[in-house]
Amino acid sequence: MALDNIQVIFKARPTGWVDESHFEIRAGTAGEPRAGEVLVKNLYMSVDPYMRGRMREGRSYVAGFELGKVLEAGVVGVVIESRDETMPEGTFVTGTLGWEQYSLARGKGLRKVDPKAAPLSYYLGVLGMPGMTAWVGLETIGKPQPGETVYVSAASGAVGQVVGQIAKLKGCRVTGSAGSDEKVAYIVGELGFDAGFNYRNAESLTKALREVCPDGIDVYFENVGGKMLDAVLTRVNMHARIVACGMISQYNLARPEGVHNLMTIVGNRVLMRGFIVSDHYDRLPEFEEQMIGWLGEGKLHYRETVTEGIENAPRAFIGMLKGENFGKAVVHVGDA
């Protein structure tokens, strides 16, 4: 008999800020796996900034969400019914599944995870896509050298907190910004950043950056875009690298903020490069080994905000876009 399955449907395409009217909660049923498929009981679901991009129409690096369909997200779950012998019942997996309690998936599209190596929800964050985003961005573009100044925007977010800690482990001076005093206290007090500021209170971003990065910026890990990027461009050192990971401040604006200071890119020989973590999944084993090692040695701290219940996933997503979460935002969907 089919299991009851609460699902979240993409109901309407937002043009500015996303709100709950763009979603619909539906009582559906779980499907039956066919050959090569498994039925996954979803345990934790991730909400991430890139999903806002999937809600828009037009060309992007991932296909857009389809109206009327179940939304997709990174999920950690457990196989409860299997027609793929490589993924028997009881296997813990992660993959891109639905905003729902149970998802059908091809076994080949899932990755096994080890529930003993770390809490399961970590595979959506520090050991998952956001953690790997931080790691790959630094590894392939930022290339921070000991003694250099690294600045991270959205520093207490899922990606930012990992970026800052890896850069510290590499011997850099690490600074960051976040949207509340509490978040700033967290990155400096608990994550070991050398300095930070609350961008919402800053009288001028340029002035705030001058204070926290008196020697300029060698690596900027870009999570927000717009005015922040413009301010950073006035503080970049020679041969600075801008890791263009995301521009969350711009996604909900009908017209993006103008960025004026690009001339420093020429004069200071700045590299700015965008990347998508999925282009680098061949390096997943290397990433996992290093991160699990650092976590085991207590060298990485990690914080998440957990929202209870799949029906609250839209609220968790909207809150994350507004910066209301603290650390990685996940939804607790069920228990194994």
Binding site: G225, G246, V259, L262, I265, V266, R269, R273, G274
Partner: protein
Amino acid sequence: MTAKNRRILFRTRPRGWVGEDDMELAEAPMPAPGKGELLVRNLYLSLDPYMRGMMDDRKSYATPLQPGDPMSGRIVGEVAESNHPDYQPGEYVFAMGRWEEYSVLTGAEDMRKLDPALAPLSWNLGVLGAPGLTAYVGMAHLLGAPEEGQQVYVSAAAGGVGQVASQLAKLHGARVVGSAGDDAKAAFLTGQLGLDAAFNYKRYDSYRAALTEHMPDGLDFYFDNVGGEALDAALAVANPFARFAECGMVSQYNLSEPYGLTNLTQVNRMRITMQGFIVRDHYDLLPGYLAQMADWLKAGKVKYVEDLTAGLENAPAAFVRMLKGEKFGKQVVQIAEP
């Protein structure tokens, strides 16, 4: 030998557009070379957009000029007297010099000897000098060359750097689109340099409209000489993994408030690589580049057009016209007959 040395001084720091009055003609006594120095009779002076940046009092890759300083620039000259062991009178040299008839130099000013048999001497200020090397660094070295069949856009394509960059992209088999500021330049790009398409951006409502029309398959490589709106439009039409060689932003140098770009989220979305560069970091590539380019020029694979202005006294006016985009090809002032 003339008793006086005519020179152009930087007079006032411009706000916004440079005027001829921001520079002035002056006379100084004829200089004499000291120990280890040489006296160069300047023949040709290069006019380049970067000089505008030196007129501003802000940290840049070039040291700012102070009012009263002689204008500085790249010159080709003939050694008139030498107390330097490496240089003999009668030899032709390139140097970072000044806007004047005679200069005393130490030999350290990026000086190199020139072979007058290779090409016209003034070409050493363009296709066989830093502008040519700039084109090579941005179009073939730093980010790799465009691939065959890729869509390449070059702004200010009829300028000293742009015409070489455009032709290098053609040599790599790319489809090349250039922009310029008047119809004659656009016609020159397609008619004489063999670009696949060219447009006069002043004839369009926006760069975006022009690029949408001329690059229906998007953009894989942008050689940026102008920045601002052109850069923003290039971002908008960029394909995944597009490469942007950021060579200069001439459209921005004279603005008190630079243009605000709104399409930078494309950098992330399309995994764009944007790399700023300055040619002087890459002078080690010059000998290899010169050998290759001299061959291409001889074989007719690369064409080169320059615009000579006669007389040092006309240099300020020529400089202003170049910044306004009213000139054609590489801008050179002829100070004296070789």
